[in-house]
Structure formats: C-alpha cells, structure tokens
C-alpha cells in the first residue's frame, strides 16, 4: 500500500496527464502551500504543487533568475522551462517569499499557459484586517477562476472543496499519530511520500489510499531499528535522497518522526472550520496555519509550535535544513538555534542545494549524532 504514495511522487507528471485524460479536467500548478486548494477543488480543477527534480543541471534558468535565488525556486522553474509541466493549464501563487515570486513571474512570462493568478496572501498574519483582506483576495481569485472556466463556483462547490481538503488533512494527522509510537510503523521517507503525493494527486484518490493505509498501520512492523528520533525543520524539503540516506544508509540508526516544513506538517496541520461564509472560513484557515517564518512576526508563534511537536513526538535531536539563499528560514536560523540551545535540544544545521553531497552529509549527521547524543 505504502508504495503507492512513492509511486505517485516518482510518476507525478504521468499521473497528472493520465488524470486529465481520464477526467477531462484542467490542471493548475501552484507555487506555495498558502494557495487555497479548496477553491481549486471547488472549481473541479486538479491542483498540483510545482516541485523541482533535483537534477544537477539547472542552467536553463540562468537568463531568468539571478544566481543568488534559492535552488528550490530555480529547480521549479527549470522543470517548467524544460517542458516537464507542459500539461498545466494554469498557474497560481499565493504571495510567499520573493524567490518563489520570481519563479512565478518568469513562468508567467515565458512558459505558455491559459490562466495565471497572483493571490496577495498577507504577511501580517497577526495584524488587524488580515482575515478580511484575504477574504477579498479569495473572492477575487474565485471570480478569476469563474471567468476563466466560464462557470460559477457555488457554495455547494466550496463545501465540496473544503470537505476534500479537510478529509485529506484529517487522515494525514491520523497517520502522523502513528509516528508518535516508540516504534513508528512508518518512516520519515514514507511520511514525506504521503504528504508530497497529497500535493500532486487528486485528493479523493489520495484519501482512499490513506484510509486503506490506516487500516494496515496498526499491524505494520518495520524490519529496522528506530534509533534516534529526529525532527527535520526548515524550508521546502522534497529531498528524498537525503531522507533515505539518514534513515537507511547511516551506521547509526535514526528515524525522522516529525517535520516542520511546508512539504510536511506545515502543509496540512489545521483544518477549515465550519463557518457560514465559506471564503472567510478558508481565509481563517490559511492565516492561522503554522506559519512560514516570513509571516511569523511580531510575536514568534512558530517556535512554540515546534516545541510542542518535539514534546509530542518525543524528538531527541533536530536537523535544521535550509535551502541555500532561503531568506525566510535564514532569518529564523540563529534565533531558532538559540531557542534549542537554551533548552538543551541537540540541533544541527545543514544547507541544502539542488543536489546534496550525500557522503559528506552522512559523515556530518553521524558525527552530530555521536557527539550530541554521546552514543560512543
């Protein structure tokens, strides 16, 4: 069962193309998890998150993106320029960091598509007027989709979109409960495949697969030692090779039992609550979700959320991973390290690029576990 998720991740483009053929619908690519997928499902679209491919060769983006922009945004755009996403009918971004905005701009200008939309997602998620501003933006977004598709998106449609997404989040939270166990029946890599595939498949199919998995998990036993319970925190982490290396190729056993990044838990942690004004309900969900660091001000709400996860998932050590040049996460790096150090939570920083020096990272992570946890 679990292989289904990794298969979806590995064959994401084939899946989307096949979906189009099967359903006859349109596919829309999105750049940041602040994009309200509920509205896209309400419009009978298939939302797929645009990911990179971790290919060493991304020079195709050089004419469009300055070299000091993060490898993730460059890798995403590279896939578009290479034609890997030629099945997309539209693209959308919910305002996030400047780097993803740059990738969106270049895609908007240089890669053919029918529809594009820039959604002004507030950064001031603790400020007055935030819910109302986003509500107006969601209304505008819904209107733009209606004009493009030539049909109206009704309240019932929105309810359907909300239900699909909420169920998906609810099921993932149930699966994540199993990661709290002393011997989790699911690895960090498998968990990553589940969340990643949720972002690129029809959630209705994904929900069925997760429901099936939930039936199997209580009996599932992994033929491996859990070892050190790790948490990974940082920017977008779709790096399966690194996760696999830590969990399967090190001399010291370790398992990622939880993560705090936007491909993992940050993506699905909270639901849309019931409210008569459905767009307001969606607005509140996205404003109140665990924040990206660039929206976490003036008060730091993110750190206490992280601490809560550490306690709940019995985390023993933290790996702070960061996409090179990712300003939002760089801005939190030193304060977060201080936060951990003040609480004697072992932590280790790694800077990620499109491809990783796996051997070097292996040595470094092993050394971290040895020294911080006094294993030898």
């Amino acid at each position: 069962m679990i292989d289904r998720f990794s298969d979806w991740v590995s064959h994401r483009h084939e899946y989307a193309k096949e979906w189009k053929k099967r359903v006859g619908g349109k596919v829309i690519g999105y750049f940041c998890t602040y994009t309200p997928e509920e509205i896209l499902y309400a419009a009978d679209l298939l939302p797929v998150r645009i990911f990179g491919a971790h290919e060493a060769e991304t020079s195709i983006v050089e004419p469009y993106i300055y070299g000091m922009y993060c490898p993730f945004c460059r890798d995403c755009l590279a896939q578009g320029l290479k034609g890997k996403y030629d099945y997309l009918d539209g693209i959308v971004i919910a305002q996030s960091c400047l780097h993803m905005r740059q990738a969106f701009w270049a895609w908007q200008k240089y890669i053919p598509h029918e529809f594009d939309h820039y959604l002004f997602m507030p950064h001031g998620i603790q400020n007055v007027g935030r819910y109302e501003f986003l509500h107006a933006e969601l209304t505008r977004f819904k209107g733009a989709l209606e004009s493009w598709l030539g049909k109206s998106i009704t309240g019932a449609d929105l309810n359907r979109g909300i239900e699909i997404c909420n169920e998906n989040r609810h099921l993932m939270r149930q699966i994540w409960e199993f990661r709290k166990l002393d011997t989790p029946p699911i690895t960090g890599l498998e968990a990553m495949d589940i969340t990643m595939s949720s972002q690129i498949t029809d959630k209705r199919e994904h929900n069925k697969a997760m429901t099936q998995l939930l039936k199997e998990l209580p009996e599932r036993r992994l033929d491996r030692e859990t070892g050190t319970r790790l948490m990974i925190i940082g920017s977008e982490n779709d790096d399966r090779e690194f996760t696999k290396m830590v969990e399967q190729e090190m001399n010291l056993p370790a398992t990622f039992v939880i993560e705090e990044h936007c491909i993992g838990s940050r993506y699905f942690w909270n639901n849309v609550a019931h409210e008569k004004d459905r767009l307001m309900a969606i607005s509140k969900r996205y404003i109140d979700r665990p924040p990206c660091p660039n929206k976490d001000w003036p008060m730091r709400t993110r750190f206490s959320h992280i601490l809560g996860l550490i306690e709940e998932y019995k985390v023993e050590a933290v790996i702070l991973m960061q996409q090179k040049f990712c300003d939002p996460h760089e801005l939190d790096k030193v304060p977060l390290e201080r936060f951990f150090n003040e609480r004697n939570i072992p932590n280790y920083f790694l800077e990620f690029d499109v491809t990783q020096p796996t051997g070097q990272f292996r040595t470094r992570v092993e050394a971290f576990l040895e020294t911080m946890l006094e294993l030898v």
């Binding site: 501003f133 933006e137 760089e330």
Partner: protein, 450 residues
C-alpha cells in the same frame, strides 16, 4: 585642446546636505539626553504617523544606516564579520547585517566615520513589511537589544494601474493597521498622539517627495545638472526624515540651485559623452566605479528607479513620468478630515507615488518604467547592479535584462553587494565595464572630446 562647451561648478547645497545628515544621526544618538524618544524602522515606514507622538521623537532608518556602514568600509567589514561570527547567514540583506552587526559590536557609526561606543537602543520599532526581511529585521534586532516592542505594517504594493479596486483594498488594509499602530504607539510610549503634528509631518513628507521628483526630472536635460553619485547624497533625506520641515526646506533650496544651473547651462560632469540609467542600490563601498566611468568615458548615470523611487511620481497620459503633486497643489487639506480619512489619504499618496512598489510586485510594470526612464532621461544604456545584498531589489533583474535587450537597449550587468564590501571584484568589474563601453561605441576621453 578641445573647447569646454559648458561650465562645471560645485554644488552649493552639498555641504549643507552633509551637515543635515550628520545632525539627523546626532539627534537619534542624543535623543535620550533631550528627554526624547528613539524609534527605528525601515526607510518607507510612514514616519509622519510616528511624528504625531511629538517633536522630540527621533528615528533611525535601517537601510541608510546599513549603507553608511558599508561606505565606511572597515566598519562595514567589522559589522559583517560580527554577523558571520554569530552564525547569521551571509546572503541575508546586507543592510540588515550591518545593523545587526553594529548591535553585536555594540557600536554606532556616524556619517563622518566616527565610531561611538554603545549601540543606541530604540524605545520601539515601527516599520513596514514588503520584502521577506523588513519585520523580521526588527524582530531579531529587538531580541538582540533586549525586548524592544515592534509594530510592522504589512504593505501590499498593488499597482492602481493594474487594478483600482484591489489597490483600494490594500489601502484599507494598510489604514486599518496604521490606525491600530497609532493606538499601539500610545500604549508603548505612554504619550498622546497629535493629529496636528501628524498632518504637518504628512504635508512635509509629501512635499519632500514631490520636490525630489522635480529635482530628478531636471536630469532629463543635456547636459544633466546632477550625476547619480551626488544624487545619492541628496535623496537620503527622503529615506531618513522626509517628514521634517528641514527636509522640505533643503529640497526647495536644492531645486532652486538646480534650476539656476539649468539656466546657466552648468553640467554635472565635463565632458558628458554618454548617459546611462542605473538599477538597484549601488555597492556603497565602491562608488568609485561611477567616477571611473565619468573620468574614462565621460559617462554619467542620470538616475535610476531606485534614486527616483524616493520621490513621488505619477504617469502622464503618454506614460511620461511626472512629479506627483503636493497636498497643497492638489487642494487637499488633511486637517479638515477625520483621523482615519487623513491617514488613508496620506498612505494612498505615499504608496501610489512610490515607484519602488512595482519592483516588488509586478515585473511588467517595472520593465515599463525602466524603458520610460531610459527614453525620457535620454540614456544610451542600462547598467544593472545584480545586488547580492538585496534579494528585494534584485527581484526580476534578469527578466528586466531580457526584456530591455528585446527593445535593443544595451544592458550591462555586474555583480556586487550594496552593504558587504567583501562581495565586490573591482578590477574585474572595471574590465567588464570597459569592454561594454567599447561595445556600445563609447569613446574614451583620452581619445578626445567632441
């Protein structure tokens, strides 16, 4: 020997500009001795709003302070290295790193290069947030300094040319936040907020911005009365204290002087053989590249969206960039309005006239403005500083280059850093510049003035 066709003359307002800037930093430093209030925040931080707290409220804007550090190279390097030592990533905003680095060093630098021991801790932060760094800058600064309260206005830079209704929504959102910010400031300072002082400061700010735009617009003349290296020393008042009457008075005096220079045909450099438009903040420790182009090729920068951006602009029917009008010129009387309406009118005026907005929000409008600047200011090339120190203003730069090149505009890019003097390869950039200038047919002064 070639006959000189127009005269050069030192700018009379130059010394005054230096004195005023020195006074600004001194005021911040000595605010507590005078029983006043210190606050810090970004350059575009709606200073007129804070001015309502009293005439003894002095601010420090982070970006110009970071630029001063970089210009004073050894101090800039020390601040950058203090950040490195603290584990702060090197590619973050270089102004912010100079600011944080100064706190870590517990030192403050004045514009004459004098280093003061002891970082002057502000009483609060009031800023805007429009790139990834602004609010986070002061969040961490407050932690380093020890519990300095922060209020940051989330600024949506929606261009009214793109969508008027959406623009109004963004102004409503900003107005709500600023109104709440006023109450917040009253609470954290224990002071009353004066509507009259706000109106006075808002009128000053809009007048300062309008005057600076008028001064920049004069640079369309041939020969240009100003070169951008000097403009950097003048625009600064709109980055630190646009809301002060001294800024309005200074810009009025500078405008008169430039008009006089235009009347008498006095240029900024001689010979003026080549005009270009610049993009982005300059590498402050290496302004000598501007002098190099002047001295070798008689080439001057007539402006940039960056320098012009600290003015206030409107578009004419033909797309021409025109200085925006002051409140008085528009017949707007803030004092006759209710507080919220006056705040809204002020914010709308600042945001609408701010050319920096499109740089962050839409690539298309930035390119249009760059083309307009190139054409209207009679430039022959664009020089783009790919600024490793500012992800915000380097947003879209490669696309800009592509689009400008499609219009047969010669574009030169070089990599540097506005705030970190270690990120600049002067000999290589000079070599590249020489090659570019030769390719666009610019002749060296040593080859004769024609």
């Amino acid at each position: 020997m070639t006959q000189q066709k127009y005269r050069l003359e030192p700018l009379k307002t130059w010394t005054k500009a230096k004195e005023l800037r020195r006074e600004y930093y001194r005021n911040f430093l000595e605010a507590k001795e005078k029983g006043g209030i210190r606050y810090a925040g970004g350059t575009v931080a709606f200073h007129a709003v804070v001015a309502g707290l009293g005439r003894d409220v002095y601010n420090l804007t982070g970006e110009p302070y970071g630029a001063t550090c970089a210009f004073m190279e050894p101090f800039g390097i020390a601040a950058q290295e203090a950040c490195d030592k603290a584990g702060i990533p090197r590619d973050l905003c270089a102004y912010m790193r100079n600011y944080w680095g100064s706190i870590l060093l517990d030192k403050f630098i004045l514009t004459d290069g004098k280093v003061i021991s002891g970082w002057p801790k502000p009483d609060f932060f009031f800023t805007i947030h429009m790139c990834c760094s602004h609010a986070k800058w002061y969040q961490f600064a407050g932690e380093l300094e020890g519990s300095v309260p922060l209020y940051a206005v989330d600024l949506m830079l929606i261009d009214p040319r793109d969508d008027k209704e959406r623009f109004q929504c963004s102004i409503d959102y900003a107005t709500q936040q600023v109104s709440e910010g006023i109450e917040w400031m009253k609470k954290v300072t224990g002071r009353e907020w004066s509507f009259d002082l706000f109106c006075e400061a808002a009128e000053n700010e809009i007048a300062s911005r309008s005057l600076w735009s008028k001064i920049c617009a004069y640079n369309q003349a041939v020969p240009a009365p100003l070169e951008e290296k000097s403009m950097f020393s003048f625009y600064v008042f709109n980055t630190i204290c646009p809301h002060w009457k001294t800024s309005v008075d200074f810009y009025r005096e500078l405008k008169d002087e430039i008009e006089d220079r235009l009347d008498r045909g006095i240029g900024a450099i001689y010979p003026e053989k080549f005009r270009f438009v610049n993009d982005c903040q300059p590498p402050w420790a290496f302004l000598k590249i501007f002098r190099f182009l002047e001295e070798e090729f008689g080439a001057l920068s007539v402006g940039s969206l960056y320098s012009l951006g600290f003015g206030s602009w409107r578009l004419g029917e033909d797309g021409a960039l025109l200085p925006a009008k002051t409140f008085a010129e528009q017949g707007i009387d803030l004092r006759a309005m209710k507080r919220e309406d006056a705040v809204r009118t002020y914010l709308e005026q600042v945001i609408k006239g701010f050319n920096g907005g499109p740089v962050f929000q839409t690539s298309r409008i930035k390119v249009e403005l760059m083309k307009q600047l190139y054409k209207q200011w009679k430039a022959q090339a664009m020089i783009i500083h790919l600024n490793r120190g500012c992800e915000g203003l380097s947003l879209g730069q490669m696309q800009d280059k592509l689009e400008l090149t499609k219009e047969d505009i010669p574009v030169f890019t070089y990599e540097g850093n506005m705030g970190d003097p270690r990120d600049f390869d002067l000999p290589r950039i000079k070599d590249k510049l020489e090659t570019f200038m030769e390719n666009v047919g610019a002749t060296r002064i040593s080859q004769g003035v024609t």
